[in-house]
């Protein structure tokens, strides 16, 4: 493949926080994402919606470098994430480059994935101490502040097995924030929760949107929530962005048949 069409870094003045450029992902012969183009501006909150199998979770997983990509380049803050410069061209990134770039990105998962052998506080301190090299005191101060932010400071010494799903997810958000990422990814963070605790997690995310200038990318099935807090909604279908726009436009006046079908099907289900 001709890599020379991809710049070694994005030029000043055209530097979104995240840029997917021509990104393709295949599992065998199945094309999950097909030549995806997507820019996310600094401080922007973008929600990804769409039917299952449309590739929306894959977008987040690629950005977190949990999946390799089969074509194209992802840039974060102007620098290539999936590739690195070698002899004047971009080549697939090695682990060292990935570790450098990954520091800008944090992620929360559908099933929380807290470390079960650590308390809530230890979960939050692990990255700052082991990865960032903070002293235990600094890491504790930072973690306690974040656990307070998500309303979990009283439970800081509990292991995840003693916490409800909503509580675990809030700790997971604090854990991700403790790494001070520039971009936060939320992958269906309310899908595994009981209906009555969804609110405690969405409240935390709303607060982040309102008070912190984070760039966020969220995959969700909660249309009302996405509509309330997003700057932009991307509707994925069949590995492509079928339609995107401001929440009021996309939900209020969808232009494409597939978007209309999806939105009415979701509405009926609720």
């Amino acid at each position: 493949m001709d890599m020379s069409i991809y710049p070694l870094e994005l030029p000043e003045g055209d530097r979104p926080m995240v840029r997917f450029m021509n990104v393709t992902k295949r599992y065998g012969t199945l094309v999950v994402l097909d030549q995806l183009h997507l820019d996310i501006a600094a401080g922007e909150m973008v929600s990804v919606i769409g039917p299952s199998g449309s590739g929306k979770t894959t977008v987040l997983r690629m950005l977190m470098t949990l999946e390799t990509i089969n074509g194209g380049v992802i840039y974060v803050d102007g620098q290539p994430l999936t590739h690195m410069e070698k002899g004047g061209v971009l080549v697939p990134a090695d682990e060292r480059h990935l570790r450098k770039m990954r520091a800008s990105i944090g992620m929360c998962f559908q099933h929380f994935n807290l470390f079960p052998h650590m308390t809530a506080l230890q979960n939050c301190m692990e990255g700052p101490v082991q990865v960032l090299g903070l002293s235990r005191d600094e890491a504790r101060a930072r973690s306690e502040e974040l656990l307070s932010l998500v309303g979990m400071i009283e439970k800081k010494d509990q292991h995840p097995s003693r916490l409800s799903g909503g509580q675990q997810q809030r700790v997971a958000i604090a854990r991700a924030l403790a790494m001070r990422p520039k971009v936060m990814l939320f992958d269906e963070v309310t899908s595994a929760l009981d209906p009555e605790v969804i609110g405690e997690v969405t409240t935390v995310i709303r607060q982040l949107v309102a008070e912190h200038n984070l760039t966020m990318l969220m995959v969700t099935h909660q249309m009302g929530f996405a509509r309330d807090i997003s700057d932009r909604i991307c509707f994925f279908f069949g590995g492509k962005i079928e339609e995107q726009g401001a929440p009021a436009d996309l939900f209020g006046d969808p232009q494409r048949d597939r978007t209309r079908q999806f939105l009415s099907a979701v509405k009926e289900a609720h």
Binding site: R99, P116, V131, S161, A176
Partner: protein, 223 residues
Amino acid sequence: MSFDWRWDFAWEILPRLLAATLNTLIAAGIGYAIALVLGLVFALAQRTDYKILTFTTREFVEFIRSTPLVLQIFFIFYVGPQFGIRLSPWMSGMIAIGLHYAAYLSEVYRAGIEAVPRGQWEAARAINMSTRDTYFRIIIPQALPPSIAGMGNYLVGILKDTPMLSVIGVAELMHTANSIGAENYRFLEPFTMVGIIFLAISLPVAGLVRLFEVWVRRKMGVR
């Protein structure tokens, strides 16, 4: 046929047998320590990206598991010198038994590591942990509790296999009992006592392993 158990003889040989028991415990303990560490090395070596290392380790583990321990003991002790490796019976025995059980323990570790959900790897990556830290701080601590039962079985197993070392003259319990029998033309007492001593060690060990498992799970907050 009549049983002709002589208490005076039994009392007389008890000190020698107890001294030999200490050797058995030392052999089992050192052998197990080697197996615990080497087993983890074998397990991790099979999970690296280096195909040659993975393949060689896999085949080596299979080879050890598919051949008798006694052959491995003989091989190290009698064939070793042909390659310039001269080891005492004790040393040969420890290495043989340690290697043998390392192969089995590596399978226990491997199963434990593979049972840790993929989400744990992904969470570790999401906070940008190195592979090494991920293994030692996230994966192995979670792989341990479910592995303890299997590890305990092999602790009892290694204890029961120490008599194999008698074939190269390590003065453990079985070897000593055999000598006593041959010296006195009486085998009933020494061999019976060996059986009782093994039983008296194995049973509590199995119980202690179960307690240890409960303690570790509680300590780690894992159910």
